[in-house]
Symmetry: C2
Subunit: 163 residues, 2 copies
């Protein structure tokens, strides 16, 4: 694959992108063990140049401005692949589906990535002081701390299966 188009984006992208050219982006992809395609480059650049935490749909709309032929399915697959290899972060559904809890006292949750069980954590243990100097403009109604990992049962299963 050859590189012809420029890496320069619009608006806020420009500030962030400055100093990072196509070659850098390509290297980044390769460093993560990814094959390089125009689509991936465009998707990564779009995401990299945004602070909006865009959804797959939004990334798709952005990328389409440069690659009219790209498909939404590719964007989904690509973002998920990026996420898998640790190239990008994902803010989103912490559980596959909504889960409810009659315990309304202050507490947080541990979610098992394997069996999807949710374990309550006494809030007392953390009480993260996120009164956050500098973010005062934001009116915080509630905060949620979620730990992702493996519950004792699933951890044991991994060890036994020879992790």
């Amino acid at each position: 694959m050859s590189v012809e188009h420029t890496a320069v984006h619009k608006t806020r992208g420009k500030e962030i992108m400055e100093g990072k050219n196509d070659k850098d982006f390509i290297s980044t992809l390769r460093d993560h063990g990814l094959q390089v395609t125009y689509q991936r480059l465009a998707i990564y650049q779009t995401l990299y140049s945004s602070r909006e935490h865009p959804s797959a749909e939004v990334v798709y709309q952005q990328v389409k401005k440069r690659f009219a032929m790209i498909s939404l399915g590719t964007v989904y697959k690509t973002l998920e692949k990026f996420y898998d290899v640790g190239l990008i972060e994902k803010v989103g559904p912490i559980t596959e589906v909504a889960r409810y809890d009659a315990n309304t006292g202050p507490h947080h949750h541990m979610v098992c990535l394997q069996c999807h069980s949710i374990i309550d954590i006494d809030c007392s243990v953390d009480e993260p002081k996120i009164s956050v100097a500098g973010y005062d403009g934001f009116h915080v109604l509630r905060q949620q701390v979620v730990l992702h990992g493996y519950c004792p049962k699933c951890k044991a299963a991994f060890i036994n299966s020879g992790s």
Copy 2:
């Protein structure tokens, strides 16, 4: 509406439920400004007696054992209503859809309930020490702190519209 069935559930529910009878449940619903129906009572009791953070579907399956005729739609509507009035908690999608972020450095997020914008928070400010004594069996891979509230822009809009 009259109360005939017993409040006793199975397994772990029993321990939790003990000391809370139908009248208590009814009062709880009323206290939250809710009309009382068999369905709501059953849904609330089911949730109250569980530590599994069940999904709507699971609640539905449970409740159906007592009320064969209940519909899944009702469970959805009811749980959401419970959540609205603060009777129950919801662990689930913190954003409507998955959102991505090329910033992989340690940081957390503020999500605006109104405009759905997401603002990064420097991790340095909180660093919640959730090494959590007593939960050692759980192997934590990553933790996510999410604040819900209103961003400066939306907060201002509320004030102007006469909150």
